[in-house]
């Protein structure tokens, strides 16, 4: 099974394909050509549930051994591959010998996943249909030997080309960003992407290897830190000639130095009358500074794509002037930030995100120079007590302190606006600061047997669902410090007593989460209730102008739920090469961030186990293939429902459901 129903398949049209692919809505159908994911008709088996492995004594020294081979017509052993075995207590690795063989001895009872990797190959898990898919766990009994594990890895693809300047000369040392583009659907663009960092050599040649099949944005950036945002002048040769002639006229053709005593005629070069600024920024293949205009390069497994050449050139740069206003009058340490507004996350050396930060003057005025074309988000914020850098006559001082109670109680102010920059200067941008709502809350526990920790720590975070949000609110410890840029979460420190405060949350749609080291073991986050709504199921939408919100309660519980069972073939043998999916019957929660959707790969013995789904009604189904990054979609799940079983998970309940694939 090559490709998936959602990948950018390497079609004949190759690079230059439109993003609006026709097959992006190609969804699995149980019948019909082009079928790639097969729904399985399941029969429920009412067999005695097997004792969970965790209940057995973890004794016995088992062995897992096998080979790593490279895929191809004639599988060849892969020497010096690193095989990593995860499961149980931590992970272990082994190196394959000259025959591609590896062995793990002294393996305890448990379920283990094995992944093979080697530079220039794509890491692949044992039992995975292809790279990127989860593997099949090997269930090992006490003293058991599993000696026939074969892990197939594939050679990665290569993208190579030359970066040249506008005169055709090679650009050595250019930093290349090769960024995997996820699915072409707009909401999928919001995902961060994988990148690899490559530099052109002295001949301007770059070579990105070990790439998984798929689509990539390729960009070249200036050597060093990538971006030169300081503006510069570019004169054509004719303009340069004119400037030299003007200088000669005014200063005289003395050849060396003209006298400085006589008042000369004004030396005026053409450049001074129509001054244009240019700057260096990342240039995307085939030659644009605008990510939206970039052409993805699609590579098949193991393909070497040469000739992905980029012409690197400076681009027109604009100056943006504006004013920050505040009802409270002039404020110290306002930060104005110009960030690229985009769903695609690329390395900052290609696109600085946040690009530029400024403190406006006492009159609230600010100027950004050297702004290259693109779509930007301009924000201003005022965080009372924030760290700031003070320049004095004698040097630079970074002043950072924990906010005083007064500062902590003061309102955070924010303003933002979108700006489309096309090389022309923009002036008169006004940012009117307004308060951001404060959200306070606490951590709670719903304990059955475990004892909640006496002292708490960690952070609560609000993660934006779309990346173009700027976050103002930050920790209340460590100074309420530096304000984050786009596409990052807002977080608040949990005090020892479990309370936390978001000092201000900007408009946006957020998902709540908490990282609490003290309650990591044995607990799970059951709910995040605010005004009767569970933010874990329904994201928090802030539109601006809200009042402060108090009483966000995040509850951890030790009441665990579990869905487990065994998947069998029609012949009654274990069926490990499938996916078991469990998803809520409530269609409104079929979102990419939904937590009531889970899948598992059955182990080598066919058993599967999904823990800590919130209580409720669910569908249970099995699929032949599933893209873990992109399966929580209504269009897909609607197809799965008819072939599903209906199960109900009770509070703290354990559902045991064995399955057999129908003949």
């Amino acid at each position: 099974m090559k490709g998936t129903f959602r990948s950018w398949s390497p079609g004949p049209s190759g690079p230059g394909r439109s993003r609006n692919r026709s097959d992006e809505k190609c969804i699995p159908r149980p019948e019909g050509p082009g079928l790639r994911t097969v729904l399985l008709v399941l029969m429920a088996l009412f067999l005695a549930a097997r004792t969970p492995a965790s209940a057995q004594a973890r004794t016995g020294a088992g062995r897992i051994a096998g080979h790593v081979v490279a895929s191809g017509p004639q599988p060849t052993p892969v020497r010096r591959a690193i095989v990593t075995m995860a499961g149980g207590a931590g992970s272990r690795s082994a190196i394959t010998d000259d025959d591609g063989a590896f062995v793990f001895d002294g393996v305890p009872v448990g379920r283990f996943t094995l992944t093979a990797s080697k530079p220039a190959f794509i890491s692949t898990a044992y039992g995975a249909a292809r790279p990127g898919r989860p593997g099949t766990a090997i269930s090992l009994a006490a003293g058991q030997t599993v000696a026939d594990v074969v892990i197939t890895i594939v050679h990665g693809a290569v993208i190579t080309g030359t970066v040249r300047d506008r005169n055709g000369e090679p650009v050595p040392g250019a930093r290349m960003a090769v960024s995997a583009v996820d699915a072409p659907r707009p909401d999928a663009l919001a995902r961060p992407v994988m990148t690899s960092d490559v530099v052109t050599d002295d001949r301007g040649v770059y070579r990105a290897y070990g790439l998984a099949p798929g689509a990539y944005l390729v960009a070249a950036a200036r050597p060093g830190n990538g971006i030169a945002t300081e503006p510069m002048e570019i004169l054509s040769s004719a303009e340069m000639d004119a400037a030299f002639e003007a200088a000669a006229r005014s200063a005289g053709r003395t050849g060396v130095l003209a006298g400085a005593t006589s008042a000369p005629a004004t030396a005026r070069s053409p450049s001074t009358t129509e001054r244009r600024d240019y700057a260096y920024t990342g240039i995307f293949y085939p030659g644009t500074p605008d990510m939206a205009q970039a052409t993805p390069v699609t590579v098949a497994a193991g393909e070497e794509r040469a000739g992905v050449d980029i012409t690197y050139m400076p681009v027109r740069a604009a100056t943006i002037e504006g004013l920050v206003t505040s009802a409270a009058g002039p404020l110290p340490s306002i930060q104005v930030r110009l960030g690229v507004q985009s769903g695609i996350v690329v390395p900052s050396f290609v696109r600085a995100v946040p690009l530029l930060t400024k403190s406006p003057g006492a009159d609230g005025r600010f100027t950004f120079t050297g702004v290259v074309p693109g779509q930007y988000l301009l924000t201003a914020d005022f965080v009372p007590g924030a760290a700031r850098i003070v320049r004095t006559a004698t040097g630079v001082t970074m002043v950072q302190h924990d906010p005083t109670p007064e500062e902590f109680a003061a309102r955070l102010l924010w303003a933002r606006t979108s700006l489309a920059v096309d090389g022309e200067d923009i002036s008169g941008v006004t940012l009117a600061l307004q308060p951001a709502p404060r959200i306070t809350g606490r951590i709670a526990f719903d304990a059955v047997s475990a004892t909640p920790p006496a002292k708490l720590d960690g952070r609560v975070s609000l993660t934006p669902l779309t990346p173009e949000q700027m976050s103002v609110a930050r920790s209340n410890g460590g100074g309420g410090g530096v304000v984050s840029g786009p596409a990052t979460a807002t977080s608040a420190t949990i005090e020892e007593d479990g309370t936390f405060t978001f000092r201000g949350v900007l408009p946006g749609t957020y998902v709540a989460n908490a990282t609490v080291p003290a309650v990591a073991q044995g607990w799970w986050l059951r709910s995040a209730m605010l005004d009767g709504r569970d933010l874990l199921d329904a994201p928090l939408a802030i539109t601006g102008g809200e009042n402060d919100m108090n009483g966000l309660v995040l509850t951890f519980t030790d009441r665990h739920t579990e869905v487990s069972g065994r998947l069998q073939t029609p012949a009654g043998t274990p069926a490990p090469n499938y996916y078991v999916v469990v998803f809520t019957t409530d269609r409104t929660m079929w979102r990419s961030d939904g937590r009531r959707l889970a899948f598992a790969r059955p182990g080598s013995d066919g058993t599967f186990d999904i823990r800590d789904l919130p209580p409720g009604d669910y569908y249970l189904a099995a699929l032949t293939d599933l893209d873990p990054r992109d399966w929580k979609r209504a269009d897909l799940l609607d197809q799965v429902v008819p072939a599903s079983l209906h199960i109900a998970i009770a509070e703290g309940g354990h559902v045991v459901q064995n399955l057999q694939i129908a003949k």
Partner: protein, 661 residues
Amino acid sequence: MALSLRYGRVTVIVVAACIAALAQAPGAAQQVVPPFVPPGAATKPPSGTGVISGVVVDARTGAPLTDAMVTLTGRGIGALRQLSDAKGRFIFSQLVAGDYVSLHAAKPGYFDGAYGARDGKSQPVTLADGQWLQDLRVELVRPGVIGGTVVDERGEPIVGAYVRALAQLTVAGAPHVAVGPSAKTDDRGMYRLAGLSAGRYVVEVPSVATAVPTDTPASVVAGMLPVMASRGAVAPDYRAVDAGAHARLIVGNYAIPSPAGGQPQAYPIAFYPNAAGVAEAAPIDLAAGQERDGIDFQLRPVPTWRISGRVDGPASSIAGLLLRLVPPGAEDLGLGSEAATALVEKNGTFEFLDVPAGRYTIDARRSFAELRYNSQGFSNDPSLPTPGFVRSSGGGGDIAAAPLGTSYTYTSGAGDATMWAWQPIEVGGADLTDVVVTLRRAVSMTGRVVIEDTKRAPTTPAAGGLPQAPPPFVMVEPADGSTSLGIHTKRPDPTTLAFAVDGLMRGRYLIHTLGSNTTSITWNGHDYTYTPIDTSTGQDITGVVITIDPNVSPAKINGSVANVASHPHGAAVIAFPAEPAQWTNYGFQPRRIQAAAVTNSGTYQLSVPAGDYYLIAVDGDRIDAWQDPRFLQAAASSATRVSVDWNETRSQALQVTEVRP
């Protein structure tokens, strides 16, 4: 989080700083970097009547270079930037009169260059109203390249292997090895080390067998500070082979062969051509812009051994200590140059894995420094991965007393830096067990800064007065450039002005401050302002007094230089101390040796601390000739001797003299 403040030419990384302040920039800039100009200043349109124009050319061929970014920086004027045109030309019009301190050009594929200099220093120009300075020539030098292939014993390419150039050069008047650029082999096993300055190099394929105790948390392997780990930062899981009784071998960073017949193997560090050490390596003399291909390696596995034992010392010194197994010749090199590393367990036991036979030094320290030589953006950070090293602070700066592009970096690990060991060991034929590494106490230096305000009464903490500016950093650095002694930077307590520097090795150190108004450094009744302190006895150094007078500034020596016109590369003036003892062992930044390019109008200006000096004008090409002590020896006889005091301005006419050491 680490906060990196780059100011002037010294980078100081302060970890977990609450209030960090850098008060003073170090002395004169030596690198071709335009002064810091706040962004935005460039768009302020100039409104004068002067013109500066010129051309950017390839230094070797003389061919004009297109699209070089030319930056003209004026004192109090800001920076102007322009791209050179198809004929390599640039012209800045409507300039206000004044001092233009730097005219430099940058183009990918070339080293940065400056007007009137081949070796770094831009010749300053003075522009009058209505003046047209034309035909200013900026020459750019092409970097050299070393390339080749790395294959294993079967001839299969080794993918992702580090290849590193080490430069052999003179620092602080003594021969040293500096870490040059590194590259990684691609999927065909090929590498290219680009961006090399002319010089003498050896090329190596590093190989570090990194061992950590079996139960080492991933956060430690990832080098995370405990404070970050406790805040819930998640470290990436690491890949490791269970190789020892209580230790695991981290895999994935360096090529590792599989065991042969149960015996673990390693690819030892390889120097071109298949040499085991720096001393046996064949140096490659690279001319400017030269390309050397075919520097190929074939790595061959060798049997390896384990070294296990314990570290003897106070518990606080053992916790988190990283032991480095350093091969001969690599003592002055930093992290990534080891044959093996081992993380010491809480109970003091350690185990090195996969050690090839040979002689080594077990280096038990918390702080490492190394020299680096020029990479100018052609490669990534040459730091090699060192799992298990938890870095807490570090920094570095450019070295004036070395070829342009030489710098130093230092890195300190978390934990007690006052105990150390340097223990030779030989392994081969069998595992070594029960090795005891005994820590001994490092030398510490304590002292205080005295602000001696000659206009007011001396300000002391007891008097309740505080200086306006925070006291400058105190630096204690190896007098002859040997980085194995470590480089130590401390900021005195802002209230008491006391400072304490721990972890000094045994050797000769020079003390100086990042400030230009240090009038004396004394200890034990002797003057160490420009003389190294010797720590060979192992005795602590207490009561160092650094005297700063905020009212003094260095003496200015200026004047005109005759017969400049007959020198195509202009002229330079070098000031050096009259005391021959100060012609060597002056550390990285000799304050009493200064060199400046002569301006277009035939004048020069130098700033030096008070004292007796020799002055000599030489061809512009020889502006760095003072780095060779033999030059100073030869120049003294034909130089002009002057004596200057603080705050003094002295005029001295010179003429260009040829010096033959």
